[in-house]
Amino acid sequence: MSEPQSIFVSALQNPSTKEEAFKRLVSEYKERLYWHIRKLVLDHDDAHDVIQNTFIKIHLNIDKFRENSSLYTWMYRIATNESLNFINSKAVKMGIQNQEWIEAKADGLMADSYFDGDQAALKLQKMVARLPEKQRIVFNMRYFDNMNYEAISEVLDTSVGALKASYHHAVKKIKNELND
């Protein structure tokens, strides 16, 4: 997307150009948002449901976007919230904690036809699933998505210092488990 963000956002907020601009937005960001969601919910079908909801939310709320952050950061935040809401609703329906739900998903990954990882990758996913929610999100964004702390801070609305602490704790736990 070579044009400046403000022009693109104007196109998204203009009723006469919204539809066409939105198609471009989906085309441009679908893969990046999908992979972010997938790493949080783990299952492909669940990720598909969440990305649909994410784009619907983006479509419904694009008029309220005031460019206080980058468009991608704003969408990333919606995708993160939708993923967490999804996990919460599934866990509530099953009468379990969010953490238990995600751990169960990680335990079932080897039987998932859309999981191609080896034993080491599976072990890592299981360890990440055992992290507290905030640490799990930060670890995914920092370690797998290579996001810098400033960007993560914008998405999660958390201070850089707190994020660094979360990431540090997450890495330490994972290293400890690997050494055991």
Binding site: V26, Y34, I51, Q52, I56, G117, F144
Partner: protein, 137 residues
């Protein structure tokens, strides 16, 4: 001599410290960052068509029904409901009236007629049938 060339003679590659943490994570004991997840074939090519807002939400939201048409349809629906209700009330009323009249006549005769009067209202065959029923051993 004490101030002689205190400036650090060493340099680091540009952005070295920014990437240091990354490099440490990628050291020997770091875990593979390769994405272990996959998606169905052609998933991303077909994703747009499965997102309702792209395929049809917009067009559905833009299809506005004229207000006059809504008013006309509402009036017709209301008229039909009123007509059906009136017919139902009328029918119910008729049935109730007929039932009440029949009951009144029956009660009138049963209460005020004695057995001889009742016999006089019956056909002979009916009387014979009734008597035969009661006289059978």
């Amino acid at each position: 001599m004490t101030d002689f060339n205190k400036k650090k003679p060493f340099k680091t590659p540009r952005g070295y410290f920014d990437d240091l943490e990354e490099q440490l994570c990628n050291s020997e004991d770091a875990i593979s960052k390769l994405n272990p997840f996959s998606v169905p074939e052609h998933y991303f090519e077909n994703l747009e068509s499965s997102i309702p807002v792209v395929s049809n939400l917009e067009t559905a939201a833009n299809k506005k029904i004229p207000k006059n048409l809504i008013l006309q349809l509402t009036s017709v629906a209301a008229a039909i409901i009123v007509a059906v209700t009136i017919i139902q009330i009328d029918k119910t009323g008729k049935i109730k009236k007929e039932q009440a009249l029949n009951e009144f006549i029956e009660n009138y005769y049963l209460e005020d007629l004695d057995s001889y009067e009742m016999l006089s209202m019956m056909e002979e065959s009916e009387i014979e049938e009734t008597v035969s029923k009661f006289t059978k051993p």
